[in-house]
């Protein structure tokens, strides 16, 4: 059963008893609503943490500062790592690995990183016999930074709040 809204023409004057009953119903409604289920305490934090980039954020130049710095850092580090030992490593291998890592940073990070794996193995073999100490650690550092950046980018894309 549903009821029709009352038109002003069939409204009766409001009496004190009506107002009192209305007040009681207001109180009852408020009590019922107050005792109804609520969201978990960390809902706001989770929504804020997992929100995707908004279009207005992407348009803001300051939003690009961190990604640009990170990309520049990776670019510079990879240049240093792959061009410093040119005397020991063949220029072809160095250029190939470096080129694939740059492509990974700029386009599809995961698939390109996987594609670069064989070349990285070749580079690692060459460097193992290298006399320059610390080069391997530098490569590991660049790889770790790249991995962390990729994970951060993928996490930022998550839209749903985990339950």
């Amino acid at each position: 059963m549903t009821i029709e809204p009352r038109s002003p023409s069939n409204e009766s004057p409001v009496g004190a008893a009506d107002l009192e009953r209305d007040r009681k119903l207001e109180v009852l409604l408020d009590e019922m609503v107050a005792s109804s289920p609520v969201l978990s305490a960390d809902f706001a934090a989770r929504v804020a943490r997992t929100r995707p980039f908004a279009p207005w954020e992407v348009r803001r130049p300051s939003a690009w500062r961190a990604p640009l710095l990170a990309t520049s850092g990776l670019f510079a580090a990879s240049l240093a790592v792959f061009f410093a030992p040119l005397g020991l490593l063949s220029p072809g291998t160095a250029l190939s690995v470096w080129g694939q890592l740059v492509a990974a940073a700029l386009s599809s990070p995961v698939s390109t990183a996987l594609g670069a794996a064989p070349a990285l193995a070749v580079a690692a073999d060459s460097l193992r016999s290298s006399l320059i100490p610390g080069t391997g650690f530098a490569i590991l550092g660049v790889g770790a930074a790249f991995g962390a950046a990729t994970i951060a980018a993928l996490r930022r894309r998550t839209v749903r709040v985990p339950r």
Partner: protein, 193 residues
């Protein structure tokens, strides 16, 4: 008091747009309960309401730059929430879940028993029944009455904000809400109120 909240909301939005994204959490925390209860009125399901509430906040965040600070933030938020809840109901329409399980090993048909078997104190049970009665009565109200009651009592919006949201004079909102509650009372058992 209300004016301060409006100013705070606008200020928070301005700061978020200026790059202080951490204030978005404050904005969510400020409205999450009222918005969730308001949406719950539409969905009648807490899980669905939580998803829609989250969806509304993400939508709000995505469109924050289109918020006009000359108006109330809550008015904007609840307008979007109302539309999202209606969209959700449209999507859900026709998508019902069967309570029938596949037949057991002996071929007997089985049905999920949706009752809650956990022991509940008598008072909690009484309150739950009364809440259910009120919810069902609100569902039977005409659309405009139901929406006004949801905004006022579940969304906890002041009359002025409802008037702005609905584009109605303040007196009309007060009058219609009074009539809505009168109609609701007529649908409730005499001993409920």
């Amino acid at each position: 008091m209300a004016l301060t909240a409006e100013r705070d909301d606008a200020e928070l939005v301005r700061r978020i747009l200026d790059g202080e994204g951490e204030h978005f959490e404050t904005l969510v925390a400020r409205y999450q309960t009222r918005l969730f209860r308001f949406i719950c009125r539409f969905t009648n399901d807490a899980e669905d309401a939580r998803d829609v509430t989250q969806e509304v906040f993400l939508k709000i965040h995505g469109a924050l730059d289109s918020f006009d600070p000359r108006y109330r933030f809550s008015t904007w938020l609840f307008r979007i929430a109302g539309n999202a809840a209606i969209d959700h109901l449209r999507r859900r329409r026709g998508h019902t879940i069967s309570l029938d399980l596949p037949p057991d090993e002996e071929g007997e048909s089985r049905t999920i028993d949706p009752r809650d078997h956990r022991p509940d104190p008598f008072e909690e049970l009484t309150r739950r029944r009364l809440r259910q009665t009120i919810d069902e009565a609100i569902d039977r109200l005409p659309d405009d009455y139901r929406e006004l009651i949801s905004l006022r009592h579940y969304g906890e919006l002041p009359y002025e904000e409802i008037a702005e949201l609905k584009g109605m004079p303040l007196g009309t909102v007060k009058n219609k809400l009074f009539r809505a509650r009168q109609a609701l009372r007529d649908l409730l058992p005499p001993d409920a109120v």
